[in-house]
């Protein structure tokens, strides 16, 4: 080891060798002896760097313009409520209706996790894309999974235990935190039947404790949940001239 070290050194110019030796014997070291902290709050009154402003502004203008684009009109304020609400029904209907155009499978039902609804209401009046981004800021995609009746029952029990989530294509009652009287496409749940169920990839991958879905294969076209909402607004506007959903006793508390 020493030998090869010497050989290597010999390849270097003698002048550098002298310098190296000098450094090795007496290298200057610096030790941090004092530290002062003084953080700066970035407040409104501070002046701006106009060059960076000019770099960022075109992006911001384009984002703002898109966000302020009106894509439809909400007729009656849609509310986020449990076990069933108009805002949730609107979203679940959007997932089911638009999802049906993405997959070549007959989708039986679509779900929206209640916690993933990020607005309390969608107020009556003009609806902007920005509002849809507030409602659904996450870039989750819609995925399809095949469940047996038994697996679907276990997923519905989770939904029931969590107070009821928005659904489309399915109706049931909550009794003792379990799902009962379940109808899919108006027919009672069959334990041995197979169902195609649409969820966000977040839920389908086991989010919100949906452990029973985690190991099931997922079909995906990369279709964003938010895109489904925007596309559904366009569809409703074309078909009926406004955006809306009704309370239909999809999920109720059993008497």
């Amino acid at each position: 080891m020493t030998r090869s070290f010497i050989i290597q050194l010999r390849l270097i110019h003698p002048a550098i060798l002298v310098l190296l030796a000098a450094f090795a014997s007496c290298r200057t070291v610096y030790f941090p002896s004092k530290a002062e902290y003084s953080s700066q709050r970035i407040t409104k009154d501070l002046s701006i760097d106009s060059s960076l402003y000019r770099i960022v502004r075109p992006y911001g203008d384009s984002v703002e313009k898109s966000m302020n684009t009106i894509i439809g009109t909400v007729r009656q304020t849609l509310e986020k409520e449990q076990p069933e609400g108009t805002l949730g029904n609107f979203m679940a209907d959007a997932y089911l209706t638009m999802g049906a155009q993405q997959f070549d499978k007959p989708i039986d039902a679509a779900f929206v996790n209640f916690g993933g609804i990020r607005l309390q209401q969608l107020p009556a009046g003009p609806l902007t894309i920005g509002k849809i981004f507030e409602l659904m800021p996450f870039d989750n995609v819609l995925v399809l999974q095949q469940l047996s009746g038994t697996q679907l029952q276990s997923f519905l029990d989770l939904v029931a235990a969590r107070g009821g989530w928005p659904v489309s294509g399915i109706r049931f009652s909550i009794r003792n935190k379990k799902a009962v009287d379940i109808f899919i496409r108006d027919r009672p749940l069959q334990p041995v039947a197979q169902y195609w169920i649409l969820n966000s990839d977040f839920v389908a991958s086991g989010g919100d404790n949906a452990e029973m879905l985690k190991s099931l294969p997922q079909l995906s076209t990369g279709y964003l949940a938010r895109k489904a909402l925007i596309d559904y607004v366009a569809l409703q506007t074309r078909q009926q001239g406004f955006v809306g959903a009704q309370l239909e006793k999809r999920v109720i508390h059993a008497q």
């Binding site: 002896s33 002062e36 407040t43 770099i55 960022v56 990839d201």
Partner: protein, 312 residues
């Protein structure tokens, strides 16, 4: 009319002033020669514009163009500045949904960031996208030493550490990332392998101190400040179990610290931990002053004197 005595005193003052002026300048130069200003952010989360004026707690705060202006002013006064970030640059405003991080990275390059580390949300638009944004728009490295990214799109686009020279000072900067399991969806984390951040950081810090002869070792961390109830590795754990790290710039937990926390490392030396909330609301600043030693022996008992900078 000036009395003779007064005149003499005045002249002496003027002469003295003339004599001492260059000395003063030299003294100031010497001081700044050995001073390093570390500026830092974390969890900026696509917050390019200030928080909107909607009555919320942070309304009107932040904004990259204001941050840039402050950084520029500091650089005009201080010759030796390091500008660092602790990850989660992405996700949080529609800028990210539309442009997948391009304006965020461009703004950081413009501001002259020297390094960042990788946050869990920086995976949000996929590793391929992150690699592309870094390749096209970043004029700074993304540092992480405890993710094995071999065979992923990030291979060659991140590295464990970088050494910086600032005047006579040598500064080593490394990065550590948080465990992806349960936090970063599998399809986004891909075949990235998470390694023990403490073990890896210690290995790299040793290299920086002993092989690269760094005078200061800084770790950019996206581990999170402290986890009192969870079994997760935090900056506190890293600080206590570290050996050669002087400063940890933290992130992930969006913690606003009034002043840096100080821990004792495995060798009995001080380690500072700082974190400045999120959204670019605050630019962290720590001024280090270095003492010069003319031999290899480092005083083992030397303590860093830490204080709040008096506002002048």
């Amino acid at each position: 009319m000036l009395s003779r005595k007064h005149f003499i005193r005045q002249s002496a003052l003027v002469a003295g002033g003339l004599l001492t002026a260059p000395l003063w300048a030299e003294a100031r130069n010497a001081a700044s020669r050995y001073r390093l200003v570390v500026l830092h952010t974390n969890d900026t989360h696509s917050r390019l514009d200030p928080f909107p004026m909607d009555g919320s707690r942070n309304q009107g705060l932040g904004g990259v163009d204001k941050r840039a202006q402050i950084i520029k002013q500091i650089r005009e006064q201080e010759p030796h500045v390091l500008l660092l970030d602790a990850g989660d640059i992405f996700q949080g405003t529609p800028y990210f949904n539309f442009y997948k991080g391009e304006p965020e990275i461009r703004a950081m390059s413009y501001m002259g960031y020297d390094a960042t580390t990788i946050g869990n949300h920086d995976f949000d638009a996929g590793m391929e996208n992150l690699a592309t944004q870094l390749r096209l728009h970043a004029r700074f490295p993304m540092l992480v030493c405890n993710y094995d990214v071999s065979g992923t799109p990030l291979e060659g686009n991140v590295k464990p550490y970088q050494v910086f020279k600032r005047g006579p000072l040598t500064i080593g900067v490394l990065g550590v990332g948080i465990e992806g399991k349960g936090l970063i969806p599998d399809q986004l984390f891909g075949s990235t392998v998470y390694l023990d951040p403490v073990a890896e950081a210690n290995k790299v810090a040793y290299i920086l101190r002993k092989k690269e002869h760094c005078d200061l070792v800084i770790c950019l961390s996206h581990l999170g400040n402290r986890y009192p109830t969870e079994r997760k590795v935090s900056d506190e754990d890293l600080a206590k179990q570290s050996e050669e790290i002087d400063l940890i710039i933290g992130g992930h937990t969006h913690t606003f610290l009034d002043k840096p926390l100080v821990y004792t490392n495995k060798k009995g030396r001080d380690v500072m931990v700082n974190q400045v909330g999120f959204g670019g609301i605050i630019l962290g600043r720590i001024d280090f002053e270095f003492s010069k030693f003319s031999s290899q022996k480092i005083l083992k008992t030397e303590k860093i004197f830490i204080s709040s900078k008096s506002v002048v």
